[in-house]
Symmetry: C2
Subunit: 261 residues, 2 copies
């Protein structure tokens, strides 16, 4: 109960925190508030009771209320404004977050058997585009890596990558086949990659790529360009993933707070 305009009212009635439950109080309150938001009892733009009042109402301390609100804020259900209050956010239904995971992990999560075929691994003289991306002199030595990524024996993606060549550190074929690109660089370079930039585009399969991916030339593909940088921001790796458009898609989904009891 709390005083509003001189009257005692129950601000968010009904649910109570069960302190004997194994579900921690902050999580119980998060589910209660999520329920009120999803059911429309609290609408976008509405202000929540203050942290102090929520604490009184549910008989928990303010820090516990804050932990709960931070969970809801992380999920985008509410946002806090210092000095003003905490407000229900407009759900970001027309936004989406797509996560691209490492190929092996991603396929395993989808229940498929991932596999990598080493197509090429050789030292080349850098073509102009490659030299520019790696900040090397044109014709400088680069290590080129090309792998075909399969899942359940079906080709899904082709990986074409370039890194600076390091004569001092030899390259094991096994590592070239199974390690993620950033790990290959870490193993065969003095300077470690610490920062990455990826760009996703729609494209069409060039002849050579199409043959390896077993699709007609010109088929739609998802191109993901990858730039890797060292701590001093110098480029240490560059290249592409080319995903078959008919066999690969990215999904963005919002889920309610799960489980617990």
């Amino acid at each position: 109960m709390i005083n509003v305009y001189g009257r005692q009212v129950q601000l968010l009635a009904g649910d109570k925190i069960d302190k004997n439950s194994f579900v921690p109080p902050y999580f119980q309150l998060a589910r209660i508030l999520e329920q009120k938001i999803l059911s429309g009892e609290l609408k976008a733009g509405d202000s929540l009771p203050s942290e102090t009042d929520l604490g009184k109402e549910y008989e928990i301390s303010r820090m516990t209320v804050r932990k709960c609100l931070s969970v809801l804020a992380e999920r985008g259900l509410v946002h806090a404004c210092q000095g003003r209050g905490t407000f229900v956010s407009r759900p970001a239904l027309d936004r989406a977050v797509f996560t691209l995971d490492e190929f092996h992990r991603e396929m395993q999560q989808r229940g498929l058997e991932p596999e990598a075929k080493l197509i090429a691994a050789r030292v080349l003289r850098a073509a102009p585009e490659v030299a520019a991306r790696l900040a090397l002199a044109e014709g400088g030595r680069v290590l080129h890596l090309c792998r075909l990524l399969l899942a359940g024996n079906v080709p899904i993606a082709l990986e074409r990558k370039y890194m600076r060549y390091n004569r001092g550190r030899p390259v094991l074929e096994n590592e070239l086949q199974y390690r993620a690109f950033s790990e290959v660089i870490a193993l065969h370079n003095e300077v470690l990659p610490v920062r990455s930039r990826m760009v996703l585009r729609a494209g069409t399969a060039a002849d050579g790529d199409a043959a390896l991916l077993q699709v007609p030339s010109g088929s739609p593909v998802l191109c993901v360009e990858q730039f890797l940088f060292a701590a001093d921001d110098s480029p240490v790796g560059w290249g592409f993933f080319v995903y078959r458009g008919d066999r690969y898609e990215l999904v963005s989904e919002v889920r309610p707070l799960t489980g617990g009891d």
Copy 2:
């Protein structure tokens, strides 16, 4: 200073927390630890000192250390294991997170002038695919919405959406032109959308879409399918965005902790 194997050693030497700074202590410590991780002083897999020890070392309370670690964990630099400790994570250089924002907001952020042209807005009898997606009887009435999205007078994307038709609530042309799809549904439906699912794929432009987008038929496009659901998980909206492959890309980038002083 702290006791390790019977010797007094300075665990993470050098930096101190300045309690007179406007930068809060938890953030100062986060930057110190981030620096040690990015510089390689702390490597992937290394364990951090315990929360208690970090508190002693930097003369702040454990809760403040925890706030700092939660910031680093959110950014993926460290991860905590109950009962074992907190460890430096392997940087997720071969993963990426792509964020698709509302078209208007996104183009404004890129410094472009967004615009929307209403191509079509009419009541149709649902084709089999549409009926299935909206859980309606085939031939039931749906409201179809088609908009061309431009930036700097160049067509960037085409939006084709379907929602249940609600005779009771009329549709204003202005709203159909400028509101996000989920808002249009919210304005013209009893049941509000609360959950969204989006799927991103590579594709090629069909004849009609290509003409509107002013690209050759068969050009590469990014297709984003959108499903909107009500609180009871019933579908309330469905459709596609079709982005020009030559004019639109998604970027994923990791940034260090910024600013403050």
